[in-house]
Amino acid sequence: MLQELALVEKNEKVGPDIYFLELKAPRIASRAEPGQFIHISLGTIYDPLLRRPMSILNAREKTLTVLYQIVGRGTRIMTRFRPGDSIDVLGPLGKGFVLEEAEQNLLLGGGVGAAPLVFLANRLRAKQAKVKFFLGMREGELLFLKDLLPSGIDFFASHENSPRGEAKQVTDLLPPHLEQNGKTSLYCCGPEGMYREIARICNDCGDFSIQVSIDRRMGCGVGTCLGCAVKVKRPPREEPQIVRACVEGPVFRWQEVSTDGF
């Protein structure tokens, strides 16, 4: 984990309430792995108090990018970052995706949550792996993400508010792609309901694994406050363990995550 004064290079509106932030942060960028996140100081003194966790959309040489959506005061303050500003960033944080050897890699993202899958797609394609990218949107507002993907990827989109008979949920797109020999690795970023649905759909299929990014409110982001507890069951241990989304996650294997209230 590093602390770096990152230089804002871009902070642009790219969709309704959605912004693209580009930072020069060479030390963090060079160490970042897909699925990891950064913890951004808002520069405010007392209010809001905490940093804001944001997934790494991509990292290339000295540059880190982030895709964020305005949901409250903190993200609204982020929209005021201007090129040339320096912002205080902790990162890269957490444990990202494990890049598996598989026949095919299915990346499923819901909304801006899809961000870390872009980074992942780049890494997988660099290894020549077969990648299919599934993006769930309200109504096309994230289609620009396609341009950030490397070539040689099959891209599919669902549109929740679509009037046409297309797929509404990203999970509606999934079934045909599961009839496959060999191993299927699924990498998922979105709400927990989406993960449950994915697991249900995969249930009868053969050899597959599901990795998911778990969203928790974070205090420190670095493992000290224990605010981001996730309950996991990891055989051979009988009893569930409480681990930290910010250190042992945010990426977990779905079957080990226990969602009974934690």
Binding site: L2, Q3, L50, G223, T224, C225, A229
Partner: protein, 308 residues
């Protein structure tokens, strides 16, 4: 300049008056890649219990105006694990380590003290009689002066290490409780643990925190913490470790002037991990500007009656 900042709590000598607040710094390991842990006067561990604890379920941290609410519920891997896995790391540190302990029953505290007493990597014990986030024990002890006396005097018999009693602000008179800790042989008191609070998710019409209530910390509580340090300073002679909402050098100095001999930084670590470095530097400059040659000279100075 460095030596001007030295201070002590009982027999515990510290290079400067800055401590980590229990539960906000792990055992230091996580921050060691971005800060020299020796910048602290002492590290205080996350609260330890006899048995491992899973802590509370549901949301555990909520932001509030200039503060946070937490309901971690004393999640920790238990004393066993601490002795086996953490102590070796702590032994390598130059900076002294204070173990923070909590229990459900008085004999839990006694057992913890017995186990920690022989550990040389543990320089002192901070006794949390004030955790608002666990049902049994915790806060119930801390609001009762007799129980605080009882726990303190029992622990006093078990260990010669400096004993620091950490008090809750959720009482009408924290002074009355501090006095009992002093009488029973405590070497210092820590003020304050978190104020009990809650937030409600109005769309779901439910409390935000899984545990319903949580502990309020951060700048919002600073005026309350400072007032308690000031009041308790008039009632006891043993040192006070002041904490609650310190984020900058000026805050730390205010606590010293109010009567704290050392101060702890909690919530600020989540926001600005360089805070101890910045605050230490500020205190040094402040002392220079006001011609103080050691920290002790500043302690309680705001109590002087002066005309100006």
């Amino acid at each position: 300049m460095a030596s001007k900042l030295k201070t002590r709590i009982g027999s515990l000598e510290m290079n400067n008056p800055l401590l980590t607040a229990s539960g906000t710094y792990g055992n230091g390991r996580e921050y060691s890649s971005i800060i020299d842990l020796n910048c602290w006067g002492a590290l205080v561990t996350k609260g330890l219990t006899l048995e491992p604890r899973a802590g509370n379920s549901g949301v555990r941290i909520v932001e509030t105006p200039a503060g946070i609410l937490n309901s971690i519920g004393l999640q920790n891997p238990g004393i066993e694990y601490f002795l086996r896995e953490e102590v070796p790391f702590l032994e390598e540190l130059e900076v002294p380590v204070i173990a923070n302990i909590a229990g459900r029953r008085i004999r839990d505290y006694e057992e913890l003290a017995r186990r920690l007493d022989p550990i040389s990597a543990v320089a002192a014990l901070e006794v949390n009689v004030s955790c608002p986030n666990v049902r049994e024990g915790g806060l119930a002890f801390g609001t009762n002066p007799d129980l605080v006396f009882e726990i303190t005097s029992r622990l006093r018999k078990i260990t010669a290490k400096p004993l620091i009693i950490k008090l809750t602000p959720n009482v009408a008179s924290v002074g009355a409780i501090a006095v009992q800790a002093e009488k029973a042989g405590a070497d210092a008191v820590s003020l304050i643990n978190t104020l009990m609070g809650m937030e409600i998710d109005i769309e779901r019409q439910k409390p935000m925190l899984g545990n319903i209530v949580g502990g309020l910390s951060g700048p919002a509580v600073k005026p309350v913490a400072l007032r308690m340090v000031y009041q308790v300073f008039r009632q006891i002679k043993i040192p006070i470790i002041g904490m609650g909402g310190i984020t900058k050098g000026e805050d730390a100095v205010a606590f010293l002037l109010a009567g704290a001999r050392a101060v702890a930084l909690g919530t600020v670590n989540f926001v600005n991990p360089q805070a101890p470095v910045e605050i230490k530097e500020y205190i040094g400059q402040y002392m220079q500007r006001h011609n103080f040659s050691n920290v002790e000279e500043m302690v309680g100075l705001a109590h002087q009656e002066r005309e100006d």
